[in-house]
């Protein structure tokens, strides 16, 4: 497959689809959007089949000197490959979820969605720093429009908050990028990943990148845009926001912060641990008291993302692999959960949990799938959630037992709020007549949830399929981090002196 610009093609297909959708009527736009995303899914399958596991680190590379100051350089490693697969897999489902629920301005909606896909794939494939930044920022525009035009009642506030929060985060990153380009004299990401910046400067660069990725991730306490955006966005918007856009933050850490600034990453690891511990406990407790289903799942996303960050900053292969798997699993599961909420929202037009009840009686098939996704979110063994969370926690245990202990409670709290949600929605008596009269899943909805359910089970039962492509890249990253790895508090050999990181992390939890 060498030489064929498949990555450019994957960007071009949705772009062409988006332009076509602008000029089509509702029916035509839906068909074109579905066709474009399905073509991209097929291309994604081709990409995966042709990806050489254990081959060169960067594959499918393309480089065209189209511009002055930066170049059209694309290429992927295993980490990017998996996130691309996640994106192209979720996109047709998003289009399906919007099939009937979006009635006004369908052409523009589909165009905005396809543009989101272009920019997401661009972020994961870009091999040029400025090209990456452009894709990273450009995604804001269509997402702003999706939330603002097709969102719920309070959509204007949510769209502003989403846009300005993320923009403020990323402009600081741009200054850091400009300095790096000045210092290293190149915009090529693989080169920069191997460039050793002065550790004193790394501190500042790391903070600038952190400002952007922490907001995008989102990490506590800069997560407040997420519940607002999620609640107000249309179902498909929430799916893509939780499923893929949040992963840009994690991808940013794994692609930029860790390999480019290893010393600074080690220096700030206690900060990350502290924020993650706070996030797990606080947002889980907040999720427990929510009346709004979407808000509950949004807060659970913040908690899950905290598991990702502790895995990333565990500085060992288990943690890194675990956090990648949590990202993939969370992409599938939270997407599926938002979809499940959307399915009943389409019927009753409310997200209030107390308006539902006893759905397992009149919607047994729905209750089954919802159960599966709930369990996957909790992290039941056999579902995708378990593998990643276990690996992440196992990874962080080697460096900070305190963090492991606190974040471990997240699993228990997660079970509490998810099962409580499930009980209130699916079990109990059918106290609302209109909820009790809702029909079960139709064919379109089954076609959307079955692939998600299969993927969740696949990742839970045989995660090796997903770990194999990234193993070499994780190993390379681990080798890069070895020079700065913080000492652990769990290995007996170093038990004599108390390590400082654990104390700082402990303080962060208060």
């Amino acid at each position: 497959m060498t030489g064929f610009p498949i990555l450019s093609l994957m960007l071009l297909v949705p772009l062409a689809g988006a332009l076509a959708c602008l000029f089509l009527d509702a029916k035509g736009a839906r068909t074109v959007a579905l066709a474009a995303t399905l073509i991209n899914l097929a291309l994604g399958a081709v990409l995966w089949l042709n990806f050489e596991v254990g081959g060169p680190q960067w594959q499918f590379q393309e480089k065209v000197e189209l511009f002055h100051g930066f170049s059209w350089a694309l290429g992927i490693d295993g980490i990017a490959l998996l996130l691309i697969e996640l994106s192209v897999f979720l996109m047709p489902i998003c289009i399906g979820a919007s099939w009937n629920s979006i009635e006004k301005r369908v052409g523009e909606y589909m165009a905005a969605f396809l543009l989101v896909e272009v920019f997401m794939l661009g972020v994961f494939t870009a091999q040029d720093l400025l090209l990456f930044y452009m894709f990273f920022e450009a995604g804001l525009i269509p997402m702003y429009l999706i939330i603002g035009i097709w969102g719920g009642a309070d959509r204007i506030y949510a769209s502003y908050k989403f846009f300005l929060y993320t923009l403020l985060g990323s402009v600081l990153m741009l200054v850091a990028m400009l300095w790096m380009i000045h210092e290293a004299g190149t915009t090529d990401i693989p080169t920069l990943m191997a460039y050793d910046f002065d550790p004193r400067v790394q501190t500042w660069l790391w903070l600038a990148f952190f400002a952007s990725f922490a907001v995008k991730m989102p990490m506590w306490p800069v997560h407040t845009w997420l519940p607002a955006a999620h609640v107000q966005a249309p179902t498909a918007g929430s799916v893509i926001l939780a499923g893929v856009l949040l992963k840009m933050g994690g991808y940013g850490f794994i692609r930029f912060s860790l390999p480019m600034f290893p010393e600074a990453s080690a220096q700030f690891a206690p900060l990350i641990w502290g924020l993650s511990m706070a996030a797990v406990v606080i947002t889980s407790l907040i999720a427990l008291v929510q009346d709004d289903m979407k808000k509950l799942i949004a807060y659970s996303s913040v908690a899950h993302m905290a598991i990702v960050t502790i895995g990333l900053f565990a500085f060992n292969p288990q943690g890194l692999e675990g956090s990648m798997l949590v990202m993939l699993s969370h992409g599938l599961v939270s997407g599926a959960l938002f979809l499940s909420v959307g399915i009943i929202y389409d019927r009753l037009h409310t997200r209030e949990i107390s308006r539902y009840g006893g759905l397992s009686i009149n919607m047994p098939r729905y209750a089954l799938f919802f159960m599966l996704f709930t369990m996957a979110s909790v992290g039941l063994p056999g579902t995708s959630g378990f593998v990643g969370e276990f690996l992440s926690l196992a990874g962080i245990y080697q460096v900070s037992t305190w963090t492991t202990a606190v974040c471990g409670t997240g699993i228990i709290l997660g079970a509490a709020y998810m099962l409580y949600l499930y009980r209130r929605v699916a079990f109990g008596e059918q106290k609302n007549a209109d909820a009790a009269a809702m029909p079960d899943l139709d064919l379109r909805e089954i076609l959307m949830v079955v692939p998600l359910a299969l993927a969740v089970l696949w990742m839970g039962i045989y995660p090796e399929s997903f770990m194999a492509p990234m193993r070499a890249d994780i190993a390379a990253l681990d080798a890069r981090l070895a020079q700065a790895k913080p000492r652990g508090d769990a290995s007996i050999a170093v038990a004599k002196d108390k390590p400082a990181p654990a104390e700082a992390a402990h303080e962060g939890a208060h």
């Binding site: 189209l66 511009f67 002055h68 100051g69 301005r105 523009e108 400025l130 930044y133 452009m134 894709f135 920022e137 450009a138 804001l140 525009i141 702003y144 429009l145 603002g148 035009i149 959509r155 204007i156 769209s159 502003y160 846009f163 300005l164 923009l167 403020l168 402009v171 600081l172 741009l174 200054v175 400009l178 300095w179 380009i181 000045h182």
Partner: protein
């Protein structure tokens, strides 16, 4: 340096002067009936002048061969870059005018002639090699501009704008002249190279005062904070085609002139003026962004937007390096396209009777009644906000890259952070146009010329513009090189 050579170098200026004078005679005998013919001829003259100056830019003209009349006038690549932008924006301002003025029966023959003379003055400004040339060009442009601002005689706001512009403009010219006289007194020369030589050993207090006064006068002309107060009033009151003209060509001329004075005459003593420019730049970014938030009139909003953008461009000047100058020139080109597009889009906002709509709230739901116009507005707003992948981003990136490379990281970080404030009001326009329920106010038909110019501007600032980065970047580099090599 002989006279023939000098006269050959100022051929574009000669063409414009002669055409302007001839057209004045045509207007005297032909009256307002000839207005259309005069417009067409004026556009032709401007386009011809553009072609006459283009070779200097493409050929990278610089050095002593390009200086006419003993260094008073410079026809180098830098001047050529500025003049191309000026002449083209002046021509576009003429093309869009008839559709607007004819409604008020105000399409008089003076309009194209005044624009022509203003463009001539601006061409002299960017070519200035001497304080006196500078002043002649500046006043030639300003006198035409004062009349243009008050061109719509029946409209009280237009008259007010003209008067305000004249009083404040005259004051600024006085301040500028005072600064020039101080500099002449303390350096003994009015030519930029003479001043440069005189201060090479160090700067006396008198010269510092002179520089401060000159910068104050120039800051007025480029509407930079704290001398920006006239801008919203003049932009709002002047007829929209005139505002379009004000927001494009004079910005290029005044910024080009400022670059000439600072980087050429005072280029070796940058530390004298750098702090002032840093302050003016940051203040313009912040005040421009904050001031725009409460605006209800879209022309006033665009006025604050232009203050904001001038602040970003001055970042390039504050660095005082050739790279900064080049970034600034690049930004100017994209800014002219965005500004032109923005005001042409405003011209196209008309209600069913053809009356101009300037109230931002009346644009509600424009995306459903006029989808293409709404899309163009959104593209322009996001581009002005500097959000990639629109082309406006690249200009911002270049000036801040110059700042980072020049060691002014704090300036870059503050400027970028302040750009987020600016994003807020650009988003507000997009929100009103796209999110709100239709107000069905803007229903009037648009002129075909307006559509054409808007389309050209939008394609330029769309992501397709990035394909031009190489070509435009080289031209800007050449122009910047010519500027810094002139010393």
């Amino acid at each position: 340096m002989d006279w023939v050579q000098s006269l050959r170098l100022i051929a574009p200026e000669e063409t414009l002067s002669i055409v302007g004078l001839v057209l004045l005679l045509v207007a005297a005998w032909g009256g307002d009936k000839a207005a259309r013919l005069i417009s067409i001829l004026a556009v032709a003259a401007l386009v011809a002048a553009t072609f006459m100056v283009a070779p200097a830019l493409c050929g990278g003209a610089m050095g002593p061969d390009t200086s006419a009349f003993f260094g008073q006038f410079r026809a180098d690549a830098f001047a050529s870059y500025g003049k191309i932008l000026i002449y083209l924006s002046a021509a576009a301002s003429l093309v869009i005018a008839p559709a607007f003025f004819e409604r008020y029966n105000a399409m008089r023959a003076e309009y194209p002639i005044l624009v022509l003379f203003a463009a001539l003055g601006m061409g002299i400004m960017v070519s200035a090699g001497d304080l006196l040339t500078l002043y002649i060009g500046l006043e030639m442009n300003s006198l035409a501009a004062y009349v243009l601002a008050a061109f719509l005689r029946v409209d009280g706001r237009s008259a007010e704008a003209g008067l305000k512009y004249f009083v404040l403009g005259a004051l600024a010219s006085g301040i500028l002249l005072f600064g020039m006289s101080l500099i002449y007194g303390f350096t003994g020369s009015t030519s930029f190279s003479g001043i440069n030589a005189a201060i090479s050993g160090g700067v006396s207090h008198g010269v510092v005062f002179g520089v401060v006064f000159m910068l104050a006068g120039l800051a007025f002309k480029i509407s930079a904070v704290p001398f920006h107060m006239w801008t919203p009033d003049v932009y709002e009151g002047a007829p929209t085609p005139v505002t379009t003209f004000f927001a494009t060509a004079p910005k290029v001329a005044a910024l080009g002139l400022t670059m000439r004075v600072m980087l050429d005459a005072f280029g070796d003593q940058a530390q004298v003026w750098q702090q002032i420019v840093v302050f003016v730049s940051l203040a313009s970014i912040v005040v421009g962004a904050l001031g725009a938030i409460g605006q209800r009139n879209i022309k006033r909003l665009m006025a604050y937007s232009s203050i904001n953008n001038v602040g970003f461009m001055l970042v390039g000047l504050a660095v005082a390096t050739p790279q900064g100058a080049s970034a600034m020139l690049f930004y100017l080109a994209t800014y002219v396209a965005m500004s032109m597009g923005g005001f042409v889009a405003i011209l196209m906002l008309k209600d069913a009777d053809g009356e101009a709509v300037e109230d931002i709230a009346s644009l509600a739901g424009l995306s459903r009644t006029r989808p293409m116009l709404a899309l163009a507005l959104a593209v322009i707003m996001f581009s002005l906000a500097g959000i990639p992948p629109l082309f406006g981003f690249w200009g911002k990136l270049l000036v801040f890259k110059a700042a980072v490379d020049g060691g002014m990281i704090a300036l870059a970080a503050l400027g970028f952070a302040a750009s987020v404030i600016g994003a807020f009001y650009y988003l507000k326009v997009v929100k009103i146009v796209y999110f709100d329920e239709p107000a069905d106010v803007v229903t009037g038909e648009s002129d075909v010329w307006h559509k054409a110019i808007l389309a050209v501007c939008c394609v330029f600032i769309s992501p397709l513009g990035f394909l031009l980065t190489g070509w435009l970047g080289r031209l800007a580099d050449t122009a910047a090189q010519a500027l810094t090599a002139a010393i």
